[in-house]
Amino acid sequence: MSASGNPTQALGSREESPKSAGTERLNVEQASFAYAASERSAPTFTLGATSFQAHERELVAILGPNASGKSTLLRLISGTIAPLSGRVELDGQETSRLDSRTRAQHIAVVHQESPMVYPALAGDFVLQGRHPYGRALRLASKDDIAIARNALAQVGAGHLAGRTIGELSGGEKQRVILARALAQQPRLVLLDEPTLHLDIGAQVELLERLRRLAEENRYAVVVVTHELALAAEFADHVVLLHHGRCLRVGPPAAVYQRELLEQVFEAPLEVELGPAGRPRVNLRARRSEDAT
């Protein structure tokens, strides 16, 4: 697919949003990556140079359709892979060079739920977030328990502490997983498609909570999603990816252009500006398009 959308890529140009006056947390600078079956064969997937920043209390959405490179970018940010070129820094330190323990103290990653082999209590599950701070046996200290309880309370799941993970609903489980991330006391929280299995009410609740938590705990949040509407409503910045290329970086109002989004998501869309200066995306049925 040709990138006829908009050639003026906003590389590195970050538009200050009024409230993100805090210190810079994450700095992604011209980071790229390539997957190849072996070292000698041609890469099967590449992520072109991508640059953006996230300050504390900010929520950045990485947006794009499937196979656009969102997960690769997330892995680069989390430091589990090192960029081919460029750098990914958290508070000035390259994330891929942190040792696994320090990295886990700084960066929390929330994935879509993974199956549990043996049942565990939600409270004990949240205590796992204290793992990077303990040593060897990691018997929970009073502080650890207080932090875990606090984390559960922050996501409004204090009452779930004594329940087993298996008997929780999707939304409850998502909150408990988020609480574990909070218990890590991170500077950066990464979320991979957190809204995937949630209904719309739970989705809105989660994003609102993420914003509030970012505010309270002074960390930066990076959310990978393909939910255009949610990103428009809650993100301070949006990184738009398409076929491994970073097309746009900026506040939703700047990135959300009808032609661009239609091309990227291959669906007829309508974009209008809402009252708070945030864009709104509506799906346009093809029928009406035919009619016009």
């Binding site: 929390a108 549990m116 565990a120 004990d124 929970a140």
Partner: protein
């Protein structure tokens, strides 16, 4: 929230140790030759005050030279098999993993037979061959279980089961064609048997290996908890997954090889005991590993006492007892599936 506390850890292990001690007394008492508990306690007391030499010889032979070493061997074998079973279950994220199911026991049996064929005159060749056989089988099964560089637990289990039957076939072949050799003991080996005492020189190596193996696995207990919730999650929570996997894989193999070289293929202990402990005390590996070690010891001591006494004076192989109890549990777990 019920976080593991030092207190709970010690209480649980203490209680299990008490049960184990009771089982030891029971096992010392029961047998083809009946001995009363008061007599036993009295004589233990006499030994404690250094007057053991006044005991009648046969009494000392039976209780301290026959039953006690056998019980201690059972404790070590039970602990080793249970801990390696629990470790393999975490490593492969599969509750059906067990050294017996993974074919390691058959590999050890074949190793010892080959060792007997190649160099029957060398002392301690049988346990050495078993050890090498166990290590080689684990490596081979591990290799079979890899798909696209990733360890696939279903493939691995199937690889183990297939390896076990392949190795058993080779054993059958060797036993039929090499009838001239003294391989009758192998039959007992294949069923798992504690009646053959471990040579004195090997006893210390075995104890040291067991403590090192369990200790090494125990240092990763907290990491294993996270590995169970998923490898990716574990990495993001600061677990050095590659290192933990290596440590646990090597240690669990060592434990299995030690156990099999000492007692043959005692099956299902590594499956049965960790699951019973999970039901009783939860699945936290920081508690599960020491509790499984003690539970495995209890299980083997009891199973061997049964094997010695059910049809006394004839002895059953202890492996037959554990398989009788273990196979139905395996089927049950298999049918229940991974919840």
């Amino acid at each position: 929230m019920r976080p593991l506390t030092l207190r709970r850890l010690l209480w649980t292990c203490g209680a299990l140790t008490a049960v184990l001690l009771a089982c030891i007394v029971l096992a010392l008492k029961l047998g083809a030759v009946p001995i009363s508990v008061t007599d036993l306690v009295w004589n233990l007391g006499r030994i404690a005050i250094g007057r053991g030499d006044q005991l009648p010889t046969e009494y000392r032979l039976i209780v301290f030279d026959l039953r006690l070493p056998r019980i201690l061997l059972g404790i070590l074998v039970g602990a080793a098999l249970s801990v390696s079973g629990a470790s393999f279950q975490a490593l492969l994220r599969n509750p059906l993993a067990d050294p017996f199911v993974l074919g390691v026991s058959s590999g050890a049996a074949l190793g010892s037979i080959l060792a007997l064929i190649v160099a029957p005159q060398i002392a301690l060749i049988t346990p050495l061959g078993a050890f090498l056989g166990a290590i080689a089988t684990i490596a081979a099964v591990y290799f079979l279980g890899r798909r696209e560089g990733q360890l696939d637990s279903t493939t691995l289990l199937l690889g183990g089961i297939i390896s076990a039957s392949f190795l058993s076939a080779i054993i059958m072949f060797l036993m039929t064609t090499l009838a001239g050799r003294d391989l009758r003991g192998m039959v007992f080996w294949l069923m798992g048997d504690l009646s053959t005492p471990v040579p004195a020189g090997l006893r210390w190596i075995f104890t040291a290996g067991l403590l090192v193996g369990i200790g090494a696995i125990y240092t990763t207990a907290a990491d294993l908890n996270l590995l169970l919730t998923g490898e990716r999650e574990a990495i993001h929570l600061g677990v050095d997954v590659t290192r933990v996997k290596l440590v646990v894989y090597v240690s669990a193999s060592l434990l299995t090889a030690l156990a099999v070289s000492a007692s043959g293929a005692i099956g299902y202990v590594g499956l049965l005991v960790p699951h019973a402990i999970r039901l009783l005390f939860g699945s936290d590996y920081r508690l599960l590993i020491p509790a499984s070690a003690l539970g495995g010891a209890i299980a083997i001591v009891l199973a061997d006492t049964l094997a010695r006494t059910v049809v006394a004076p004839t002895e059953l192989p202890v492996g037959a007892m554990t398989a009788m109890a273990g196979a139905p549990v395996f089927i049950y777990l298999l049918r229940r599936g991974i919840r």
